[in-house]
Amino acid sequence: MIKFDHVSKGYAEVSDALVNVSFTIEKGEMAFLTGHSGAGKSTLLKLIALVETVSRGQVFLDGQNLNRVSEQEIPFIRRKMGLIFQDYKLLNDRTVADNIALPLLIAGYNHQDIKRRVRAVLDKVGLVGKEKSYPLSLSGGEQQRVGIARAVVNKPSLILADEPTGNLDPELSIEVMRLFKQFRQVGVTVFVATHDLSQVVESGCRQLILDQGRLVSG
């Protein structure tokens, strides 16, 4: 599903954010990416999400070389993945339902389908009854569940999460992790960047460790 082949990434200000990183994540696998803050976790995820481009090496997604993707193709590749962020990145002037419906609206689903899918995913993340609320009136855990709902509503084959539990207390974090495992059970590849090692150990999933841009384990 994801393949990194000798990937390096350098910024002007940080000389080497990633150094010669190679790994493969299979379809349907659930893996964690850990390391200190500044170790390059976010950079690595941004390369997969086509937010950044590599300096050297190649990134493959579903067999497609992301180095050779044109600006026009990017939106269509992003529709195959669900992105989850530490700061949720919700539209605070839209209702929960509208936030979740956004990827479907973008993909051109009809009104009926959108309604049905939004209802289904609200049920899955346990937010039934909150569809008319605005994000800022919800708790952090609820907001993150809205973010997760938005990421999975389009039934992506890959979920990328960058510190999804970074702003949540332990109980809510466990709740979020439980959701991820559910998605994995239906064949979705899940790749989570986190510094919360307890979660990783508890899950028993594969762990990739970054240290100063280098992959030291995985």
Binding site: K46, A49, V51, E71, Q72, P75, F76, R78, R79, L83, K89, L90, L91, L102, P103, L105, I106, A107, G108, N110, H111, R150, N154
Partner: protein, 299 residues
């Protein structure tokens, strides 16, 4: 369906920020109304001069010693001319009377021993004679009649007026073009600010797979609404101003030409006004989106 949704949504966005929207629309509609008013001005003046054209006439001043009988004979001859519609003989006495009543210099004339005014034959060419060349030909023909001392075609001032109108028309065209650019730039700048205010939204939409086209759509509609609403307000402004100007204009034209109707924007004009102003709004928005949208990237 999606388009309609986006169209209504963009209108909703404008209603949410009424103050800045009203300011933008006010500036836009003033620009558009100015163009429209200038256009109507030219249209009214050309309509006026169009009527002047039909009032072409040739004045024949007869020699000082030509008798009244000779004058009448000439008039009868001219009446039979194929290019002449009508004639009117003004004898010396009639001329004097007219002069007295119109000029107010009657007393001055009384001081003279004899009537200094020549006999005059007014010649009205057939309406089929429209070009300057045809009229000049007739004039040349009449000039050489022995009893005629001077023949004058009263058209020069009409031509000067027409030349001025052509100049004004050109000027209005230039001004309207400049104002059209102003509308494009004002809309563009407004859309740019909107884009800036909704940067977060644009970035999020891009992250969940929105194409530039999808993101651009509501902004394009926003540009459309600015143009369209400005067009409506411009129309109201133009029509209101013309209503205000109508009585004095009609009074003025009545004095010079008899009754004259003031021309307002026709239905066709109004449709074009709205279409053009909407289009300018869309063009302004489009210009900004093409240059700015690719720059807005997640982080």
């Amino acid at each position: 369906m999606v388009h309609l949704q986006a169209l209504l949504f963009s209108l909703g966005q404008q209603l949410r920020t009424p103050f800045s929207s009203v300011l933008t629309i006010a500036v836009l509609s003033i620009s558009i109304a100015l163009s429209g008013l200038f256009y109507l001005l030219v249209k009214n003046v050309t309509h006026l001069t169009g009527q002047l054209e039909t009032s072409n006439q040739i004045t024949l001043f007869l020699g000082q010693h030509v008798s009244e009988q000779d004058g009448e004979r000439l008039q009868r001859q001219l009446e039979k001319h194929r290019n002449i519609q009508a004639t009117r003989l003004i004898t010396k006495a009639e001329g004097l009377k007219e002069f007295e009543s119109y000029s107010g210099f009657g007393d001055a004339l009384k001081a003279l021993n004899s009537n200094p005014l020549p006999m005059v034959v007014q010649v009205f060419p057939r309406l089929s004679l429209t070009t300057q060349q045809q009229l000049q030909q007739l004039l040349d023909e009449l000039k050489v009649i022995p009893v005629v001392s001077v023949a004058k075609l009263d058209m020069q001032w009409v031509q000067r007026l027409k030349a001025i109108i052509v100049l004004i028309e050109r000027g209005v065209l230039v001004l309207a073009s400049i104002l059209a650019f102003a509308v494009i730039f004002i809309t563009g700048n407004t859309i740019r600010l909107e884009l800036q205010n909704r940067q977060q939204e644009v970035v999020i939409a891009k992250l969940v797979g929105a194409t530039n086209g999808f993101i651009a759509r509501p902004f394009l509609y926003s540009g459309f609404w600015y143009g369209f609403l400005a067009g409506i307000f411009a129309w109201l402004m133009i029509t209101g101003l013309m209503k205000l100007l109508q009585p004095p204009i009609e009074h003025l034209t009545r004095l010079y030409l008899g009754y004259q109707e003031v021309i307002f924007l026709s239905v066709m004009n109004s449709v074009i006004l709205l279409a053009v102003s909407s289009l300018l709004g869309v063009v302004g928005a489009w210009g900004v989106l093409v240059t700015q949208l690719n720059r807005l990237k997640p982080e």
